[in-house]
Symmetry: C2
Subunit: 209 residues, 2 copies
């Protein structure tokens, strides 16, 4: 399979392939040609074939891809079947939206804890999970050993909270705070969602089309 | 200035430069060297110099960049001073979080309307803006001429809503629905925030570090 040699640009397209194949699968479709897949994803058929050749022999000339097999293989590469324990820190608007709206299970995570410092929020239940005070983070981590943290806290608090999480064994971050974690900590994995920067990009694209 | 020849990869770094320079500016800093800026942003000093050379002579050998001037110039390129009218459709958890949490003004937009179809939500005020029913979208657009829409609706509704918006003159989208707008409509500008795909990427990175 040679999984270790999959290039970064292919990796970045995998979630899109996966989501799309999942959708086709739910619609009951069994096969799809590289041309059809290419049209739907605004890529070229040859790019699709090249990308998917990384994952073994799911394509057959003139026959297309088996959607379910391909989806399963890409899912395995993305790690959706191996659930990592995740916690979310900062149960404000964004944090609540993520805890409520995002299906963590389907994306390889098990959301097991919510944390905040606001006494008005601590003790509330969000999507069936009770919000715990940050003071109890260490004992929670000792007991449950979460690997990943979703950070939905203001930038000003991000350094201290991230440090506390790392000291308690967290090594992977889904970062919604406008704080560059990788610059400040080594040896961690970070996926940034900088919404403000995304809106600035839209501003540029709209005004310079 | 040669703004039209700024490469795509530079453009993608501009929001980060801008946010960071803004922060430095707020801290009262006046100048920064390319080395210092590089360290903070995990880029090389020569990459920084190359990027910023696109924007005229703000750097001086041994003297660094004037933070305020550089921030202003990058802001002008990103279009932060020219406010485009924006509306948000889908005032659920994510929509409410964005309307409340994101400073649109600072990023070149004026959020002037919120829309939903849910009778429990219509009429409510979110961050000082009353939620309007989608039935009134056309008359609102005719009167106010919004250019940009923030889409926070389920995938199933995305095609119809996007079509209605485009028919009413909207040409630019900040897209939080898992629906590929560009594939279905031509001549529009789209900035996607696919949170599910982002979480899948984190899953891959965490399990294959």
């Amino acid at each position: 399979m040679g999984r270790e040699i999959i290039s970064r640009s292919v990796i970045k397209r995998l979630p899109r392939y996966y989501s799309y194949l999942e959708e086709l699968s739910q619609e009951g479709k069994v096969r799809i040609s590289s041309k059809e897949l290419a049209d739907k994803m605004k890529l070229t058929a040859s790019q699709i074939r090249q990308d998917l050749n990384n994952f073994g022999g799911f394509g057959h000339q003139g026959y297309g891809y088996n959607i379910s097999d391909l989806r399963q293989e890409i899912g395995a590469i993305l790690g959706v079947d191996e659930k990592l324990k995740a916690i979310l820190v900062g149960v404000g608007n964004i944090g609540t939206a993520l805890a409520t709206q995002i299906n963590f299970q389907k994306r390889g995570f098990d959301l097991i804890g919510l944390f905040d410092v606001d006494e008005d929020i601590v003790g509330k239940e969000v999507n069936g999970i009770k919000v715990t005070h940050m003071d109890d983070l260490s004992s929670f981590c000792e007991q449950n050993k979460p690997v990943t943290a979703v950070l939905c806290i203001p930038k000003a608090a991000a350094y201290d909270v991230a440090k506390k999480l790392i000291d308690n064994g967290v090594t992977s971050f889904w970062n919604f705070s406008h704080f560059d974690l990788n610059v400040n900590f080594d040896g961690i994995v970070v996926e940034n969602v900088h919404l403000g920067d995304s809106l600035l990009t839209l501003s540029y694209m709209t005004k310079n089309r």
